[in-house]
Symmetry: C2
């Protein structure tokens, strides 16, 4: 988040850092300048224009409203507020009007950042919906270890080293050993056998696209990839949409890059997507099993566009930063 603020030259008048009591008091260098971490729970929330929350849902539920009430715009990365009908769930390229009428001076508001897998899929679905109307969507994901945070990434690497050395696995972050295996289990299981991750992909896509009745089914799978979520997506549209036309529509969509040349084995890959801010779409082809069917392969950096970049873009959009807006007093809380 701090890196993305710096990269995008976000005009900071001042910056404060908040974390739990365990990290409070530590000094962090941001753009070469020392910042002392404050304890989130006891911090004075006043005087901030923007707070970027990257804590868990439980912390966000308690703390985010306190900062919003004190006047800040809060952009929250957790799932705490995403399905709250009063809180916008925003991908600036997709549903910018969810914050229509908001002014930088308004503050006292919370905006939620969608689930990282959902962001990538929705960026690919939106232009297809505008062109031909979504009827039904089926998604199988291939989600990286970084989706489980720094500890997930560290566990993938440590477990893989162990597996290569012939040592026994020792899973902690993931339910089972993740080295050289795929696990159809992200989040927790609900009563119908659906995982919380699958439920998020469905409900958040419906909310962001404004299609509460959209028929969408997802299987979410953790794969031994470091950074970058991929998805195989089947799309049924109301009217016909040829693969060539879908390619055009996607290529001109904001935030989307088409990589689709089978002849040169060119298609989106997490190795290429990682570290960039676009969502990549390829392997666009007809699904002949339904009247108007398309298949896609979608890849995006889940840490950047799937989280930090989308959060900072939300702040830019609401605070009119990057279009000559005034410097903001901001905070990052985790």
């Amino acid at each position: 988040m701090l890196q993305v603020l710096a990269e995008r030259h976000f005009p900071l008048a001042a910056l404060r850092l908040f974390a739990s009591a365990r990290s409070a008091g530590q000094t962090v260098l941001v753009s070469g300048r020392p910042h002392v971490i404050e304890e989130l729970g006891s911090a004075d929330p006043r005087g901030l224009d923007l707070v970027l929350f990257s804590a868990g849902a439980a912390v966000a539920r308690t703390e985010a409203p306190r900062f919003a009430a004190a006047g800040a715009l809060v952009v929250d990365n957790s799932s705490a507020f995403r399905l709250d009908p009063d809180i916008p769930l925003l991908i600036p390229e997709v549903n910018p009007d969810a914050v229509a009428g908001w002014t930088p001076a308004l503050g006292r508001r919370i905006v939620a950042v969608p689930n990282c897998a959902a962001i990538a899929i929705i960026l690919a679905l939106k232009p297809l919906h505008d062109a031909a109307g979504l009827e039904r969507v089926t998604v199988a994901t291939y989600q990286s270890a970084a989706g489980a945070g720094k500890r997930g990434l560290a566990e993938l690497e440590a477990e893989t080293r162990r597996a290569l050395a012939g040592e026994a696995p020792g899973a902690h972050v993931f339910a089972h050993p993740i080295a050289f295996d795929v696990l159809p289990h992200i989040g927790s299981f609900g009563p119908d056998g659906e995982t919380s991750e699958e439920a998020k992909i469905v409900a958040e896509t419906q909310k962001i696209l404004g299609l509460p009745g959209l028929r969408l089914s997802a299987t979410a799978v953790r794969v031994p990839v470091r950074v970058g979520h991929s998805a195989a997506v089947w799309v049924e549209t109301r009217s016909a949409l040829a693969p060539d036309r879908a390619r055009e529509v996607l290529a001109s969509a904001p935030g989307v890059v088409v990589i689709d040349d089978p002849a040169t084995a060119s298609y989106p890959r997490s190795r290429v997507a990682a570290g960039t801010d676009a969502i990549y779409v390829g392997r666009i082809r007809r699904d002949p099993t339904v009247p108007h069917g398309l298949l896609l392969w979608v890849v995006g950096d889940n840490v950047r566009k799937g989280a930090a970049v989308n959060a900072v873009q939300i702040a830019e959009h609401v605070l009119h930063v990057g279009a000559g807006g005034a410097p903001a007093s901001a905070a990052v809380a985790r």
Copy 2:
């Protein structure tokens, strides 16, 4: 293949080994006894009851008919004969009648072993079809490096070691670096953007289930797993089939094991499937986006049931071995 013959106590009267000129003359120990590899192209095909082919499609096309003409039953693992309408494509648990009326004495016949991903998926689909009628199937695969042979497996391990050491990748077997990445590319691309692997899954499923019009769409993806293919499968059936009933039907199907207890994070995993001969099905749940929809997660050892075990089972079935059949003179060709 040799290991599976030994494990299953296949009654061998004699065994010959064939390979290319490069390997011919080498001595291989089978069950402690030395066997000298013969050159396949110049070998005398006479006197064999059974030949298990594990060569490529080009070699199989030339050599398999020569051994069949000399009287042997040929079981071929390549794609050469799979879609030939005169040649059975056999999963003994699924379509044993494809060789109805064949007798061990008959010989002079070729039977094809299906694609490794198709075998796993079909074993799960067959009982559902019998129970409720398949209407439409959608498949996203997660296929292991071993599907690309020993060299694929070696490349996954070598590339992963390199990636962990921060060294540059050097892909050879796969189109792109496979360490910590997923590649939606198995086989070669056809004119419609479909890969040959995807086309095999569709056409072989239709042939084996005897449903030439079955609507099936697949995306085949290579994942950094050593052994074991997984698949997310969406099934639409003609009549209603509740998840509980699907679980019962699958649990009683030959060759299928159900692992499906979300409460204990129990679902099929390649780590558990590898080295075993069953196909595992779990995460069985309703797909609420269609009238009669189910989701499944299917995993199998692609080297065993996906190839060697299915090949030996075909030989047992046709030659009536394992039910008091006579010892056979067999050969393994690669």
